[in-house]
């Protein structure tokens, strides 16, 4: 009984329009030959070509990508372990504290976590820079991966593992040959989510950064404070394009694997 009433369609359409309008405007204006928002100077890609010459920007992009890759991978490992513990281990000593630490970063304002991590790094006298941002990001985004993987694990049919063990497969091998392949889509979703979050983070990165580790968000932010700049439009458009391509390919993959939707729903489920 899926009646698509006018109210439903209307609210959905309005909502989507609201969500996409600013992005669409941004993309359009990145091709604006004129500097000013008020003047449309015709289509041009001059801001993109200027971007290629902007060494500092490219540097930041490279740093950001590397950090995102590292933290996403580390967070996926940690998050999967945490999800396994939460779903499979029932009650154990210190569970309340553990789940508290897992779920808190989901809602904790980033200024607090950023400050706390920086103070830690200062206290143990570590040089701040690439690695401190990576550690900070890993800590922050592990919880998101946990939620996604946990959601998948909850719907996982444990009799498959029992069947495997019954057929002679020891527990670790069972996990690797049966469980892991079947929850892999959730792990991939989790990784992608983690990657995006790290790529996008401004606050925590600002707190924990050091010389030579200016991430793209930090650079964009510092430029944006001074007002709209068309080069920024170009950078943003490129990032949006990359993300859109990533999501589109992930959705296609999910279509073939039936697991992606569950993971995305897991994202919703938090």
């Amino acid at each position: 009984m899926r009646r698509a009433s006018w109210f439903n369609i209307g609210s959905l359409a309005l909502g989507l329009a609201f969500l996409y309008l600013p992005i669409v405007i941004l993309v359009i204006y990145s091709f604006n030959a004129s500097r000013l928002v008020t003047v449309w100077g015709g289509w041009s890609i001059r801001w993109y070509s200027e971007l290629i010459d902007d060494r500092a920007m490219l540097e930041s992009a490279w740093v950001t990508l590397r950090i995102a890759f590292l933290s996403a991978s580390a967070a996926t490992v940690l998050g999967t372990l945490a999800a396994l513990a939460l779903v499979r281990f029932g009650r154990f000593r210190g569970r309340v504290l553990f789940s508290g630490m897992i779920y808190a970063p989901l809602v904790m304002p980033e200024v607090i976590t950023g400050l706390a991590l920086l103070l830690l790094f200062v206290a143990i006298d570590i040089d701040r820079g690439f690695w401190t941002i990576a550690i900070a990001h890993t800590t922050l985004i592990t919880c998101f991966v946990t939620v996604v993987v946990q959601s998948r694990l909850l719907t996982f049919d444990t009799t498959l593992e029992e069947a495997a063990m019954n057929l002679g497969c020891p527990p670790v091998k069972t996990f690797l040959t049966v469980t892991l392949p079947l929850i892999a889509p959730a792990l991939v979703s989790g990784w992608m989510l983690a990657f995006t979050l790290s790529l996008d983070d401004l606050v925590v990165a600002s707190f924990t950064t050091g010389p030579g580790a200016t991430t793209l968000p930090i650079r964009i932010y510092s430029e944006v404070r001074l007002g709209v700049k068309p080069e920024i439009n170009a950078v943003c458009t490129i990032l949006i394009a990359l993300v859109a391509i990533g999501i589109a390919s992930a959705s296609l993959l999910a279509k073939f694997h039936h697991g992606g939707r569950g993971a995305m729903a897991g994202l919703a489920g938090r």
Partner: protein, 305 residues
């Protein structure tokens, strides 16, 4: 204890220990440090606070350092009305935007859930996609629109709704717009997840018992979607209180939200102890909602997600 059980718990312990230790080291300990710093004094030094626990000074050094801790930073927070105004403003904006998010997000989630099954994945991806693009970018996009000579004013002038282009930026309105825009997925998705799981036959049963559509919505759908609304509300309210980027880019510098205050204390004034005190008080304010959120999460986990 049989060999099987002993082997299992060793492997289990490892699975648990790795994330546990990481989080304890990089999440728990930092908070304790924030607490300690909040009790310290500013110093023109590197790091800019005293006392600094010097392990080499031994136990007596620790005792000496502990004795110099004080609550003067908290006293400062209490005495200067700037901070109080900042906290109140943050709570105000958070509450207001959460309400707006509920009002705007629910119809969207409802529309998503009632869409034909074939379209659901597509709609889902469409709603989630903006979330995956950069947060910063999306806020920046609003600057494009909201600035004095931006597109909104151009539109308003063209439609002759106003004579003078009003200032949208650096106002609370802009902050509200920015917050609602950024946090919309956080509200829509939990509600959608709950609505999607809802058993449609309940509505059919209501209709069969003579209940008109709007009433069925009020009596059946709305109460059943409450867990989603609660989750969404918490997921939005708590982080919004400490929001920094949106008020910084879109809001005024007159009354700052607490996130901005913390940032200013830290980066502009180089006053780490006061910044830490601000953080601790903010955390205390949020402890109750955070604990409620955790309970909701574990309850959902026990119920099987």
């Amino acid at each position: 204890m049989s060999k099987l059980e002993a082997q299992r718990s060793w492997g289990e312990r490892l699975i648990l220990l790795v994330p546990y230790l990481w989080l304890a080291a990089f999440f728990l300990v930092p908070f304790l440090i924030v607490l300690k710093i909040s009790l310290s004094h500013t110093a023109v030094a590197q790091p800019p606070y005293t006392p600094v626990f010097d392990v080499a000074a031994g136990w007596s050094g620790v005792i000496r350092a502990l004795s110099t801790l004080s609550l003067e930073n908290y006293a400062l927070l209490g005495s200067d009305s700037l901070y109080l105004a900042s906290y109140i403003k943050s709570l105000e904006i958070a509450a207001g935007s959460t309400l707006l998010l509920l009002l705007i997000g629910f119809p969207i989630a409802y529309g998503m859930a009632r869409a034909p099954r074939r379209w659901q994945p597509v709609v889902f991806v469409l709603v989630v996609l903006p979330f995956w693009t950069s947060f910063l970018i999306r806020i920046y996009a609003w600057i494009n629109i909201l600035q004095r000579d931006g597109l909104l004013n151009q539109l308003l002038l063209a439609l002759r709704i106003v004579d003078e282009p009003p200032a949208w930026l650096s106002t609370d309105t802009a902050v509200y717009i920015g917050i609602v825009y950024s946090y919309l997925p956080f509200m829509v998705l939990p509600i959608y997840a709950t609505l999607e799981k809802m058993d449609e036959t309940l509505l059919e049963a209501a209709a069969d018992l003579g209940c008109p559509n709007w009433k069925a919505f009020w009596l059946v759908t709305l109460p059943l979607s409450r867990p989603g609304m609660v989750a969404g509300a918490l997921l939005c309210f708590i982080p919004i209180v400490g929001e920094f980027v949106i008020p910084d880019l879109l809001g005024s510098s007159q009354t700052m939200m607490i996130g901005q205050t913390l940032w200013a204390e830290f980066f502009a004034n180089r006053d780490w102890p006061v910044a830490s005190a601000v953080a601790v008080v903010l955390l205390c304010l949020l402890v109750v909602p955070i604990v409620i959120y955790e309970q909701v999460q574990t309850r959902d986990l026990a119920r099987g997600g």
